[in-house]
């Protein structure tokens, strides 16, 4: 997995590329928790370039969404496609996040 992160006032824009396995989920959790525990509360996670995310990665996204909501923020998933979109639908997590194409 490749990860790049940019920020502006209260927003964090995260671009992910590749496959997200358990070891990548750990990295993602560490990086995003640091932002959500500081002043940031709106997260836009771009998934256009992601071809797979496993259940540990999905769990990290849920964890960030829960923390963001506590601060009146939210996580928006952008550009999920293929099997990633299928996994979000199957697990009904498309109801947990704001979804953007």
């Amino acid at each position: 997995m490749e990860i790049s992160i940019s920020t502006n006032t209260e927003e964090v824009i995260v671009t992910l590329v590749g496959s997200i396995y358990v070891e990548d989920a750990a990295v993602l959790r560490e990086k995003l928790i640091a932002f959500v525990e500081s002043e940031y509360k709106q997260f836009f996670i771009k998934l256009h370039g992601v071809d797979y995310i496993d259940s540990s990665g999905l769990g990290v996204l849920v964890a960030i969404q829960k923390k963001a909501l506590q601060k009146n923020g939210s996580v928006t998933l952008v550009g999920a496609k293929g099997v990633v979109k299928e996994l979000l639908e199957l697990t009904r997590l498309n109801q947990v996040f704001r979804m953007q194409s």
């Binding site: 396995y21 358990v22 070891e23 797979y52 496993d54 259940s55 540990s56 999905l58 769990g59 990290v60 849920v62 964890a63 829960k66 099997v83 996994l87 199957l90 697990t91 009904r92 997590l93 109801q95 947990v96």
Partner: protein, 130 residues
């Protein structure tokens, strides 16, 4: 048979496993790989509790019209407790078995609960039979 004792070791095998599954059909191989990956995550994390002195064994058996996957860990057995769990929408873990059940045609557990076997039928309309 593949054997490994950590996520790092399994990471080095993922491409070979995907290639082996794709010998029949790339489309179904991806879904079957998802089931395998979730099964292995469970085996390393819940089964062996990330104890690197313990191994996980993954067997891929190919039959003319199906593939049978067995994942066994060296832990005390956890699968029976997990299989009956329902996943709440906001839960952060516990979706692995839910995904396995979705992506395979049938599955079974051994009595101890440290081995899962699942079967994916090969759809010969668009995949090659072995």
């Amino acid at each position: 048979m593949y054997s490994f004792s950590s996520f790092a070791e399994f990471a080095t095998l993922r491409d070979s496993i995907k290639k082996e599954l794709a010998q029949s059909c790339e489309e179904d191989a991806l879904r079957l790989f998802i089931a395998i990956n979730e099964g292995v995550n469970n085996a390393i994390f819940h089964g062996n509790k990330e104890d690197i002195t313990k191994k996980v064994y993954l067997t891929i058996a190919k039959f003319p019209h199906e593939m049978q996957i067995t994942i066994r860990d060296e832990g005390e057995g956890f699968l029976h407790s997990k299989i009956s769990e329902t996943t709440e929408l906001w839960q952060e873990d516990g979706r692995g078995l839910e995904l396995i059940k979705y992506y395979v045609d049938s599955f079974s557990l051994n009595e101890k609960g440290n081995e899962i076997t699942f079967v994916k039928k090969i759809n010969t309309d668009y995949c090659k039979a072995f």
